[in-house]
Symmetry: C2
Subunit: 118 residues, 2 copies
Amino acid sequence: MATRLSALAHEGRLTIFRLLVRAGPTGLAAGDIARQLEILPNTLSANLNVLSHAGLLASHRQGRSIIYAADFGAMRDLIGFLVEDCCDGAPEICAPLGDVLARVACCVPSTANLEPAR
Amino acid sequence: MATRLSALAHEGRLTIFRLLVRAGPTGLAAGDIARQLEILPNTLSANLNVLSHAGLLASHRQGRSIIYAADFGAMRDLIGFLVEDCCDGAPEICAPLGDVLARVACCVPSTANLEPAR
DNA sequence: TCCATAATTCCACGATAATAGAACTATATG
DNA sequence: CATATAGTTCTATTATCGTGGAATTATGGA
């Protein structure tokens, strides 16, 4: 988990990851990322490698391009780790997270038993 | 936020922070931390400094000891940042978090029923 | 085959981080 | 005041990270 945190603890890589999360499961070609964020291709490649090695990205070749996509499961696990690790004895930390989840309106529970009240 | 992530992206510091979260708002003296985790005092001091500088710890002197305590608000903000940043367009990531929150049983909304699990 | 494009890998350099020994500051106590 | 304890700061050393230029691999098209 430290490796995963470390991968995100870098302004540039955090930006890359955010872009890829927004791009969705389809992902983006390395070149597109480089263009949008104005990063040198070799620097980008190094950072994509760090993120991939941390399990945060998946990639596959498509023609001449290599498509990178955020691994949603890995990110969920990371956040879950932080939440469980912190909540274990500290309700002050994760109690307000229910509000956050409600605010982003992305987690209306089908299986979860959180009240979508509001 | 990258600074905060970076502070936690270190095995030793993550362990220190976890210990302090479990210690609760009371916190622990630096010496106690050093003893429990078997870290050299100067190394510990350096790492406590990194965590403090990232806003994750608060400290105050008490007699000869210096008491460190986890800043719950900072941690909540960090997790909130990750959740909102990721959920923005990616329900796959934070939808399951409702389950996580329910599992740790620390974030039951004030309106819902409180289950004394564990 | 030849060329252009896409991306990576190699390599070198400077910057930053991690650790540990030694010295230092602050507090308490006799 | 002398001494012991608690932490920090100083300093040096080593390791790792981040970046960019140049060369390399892989693919597609004329």
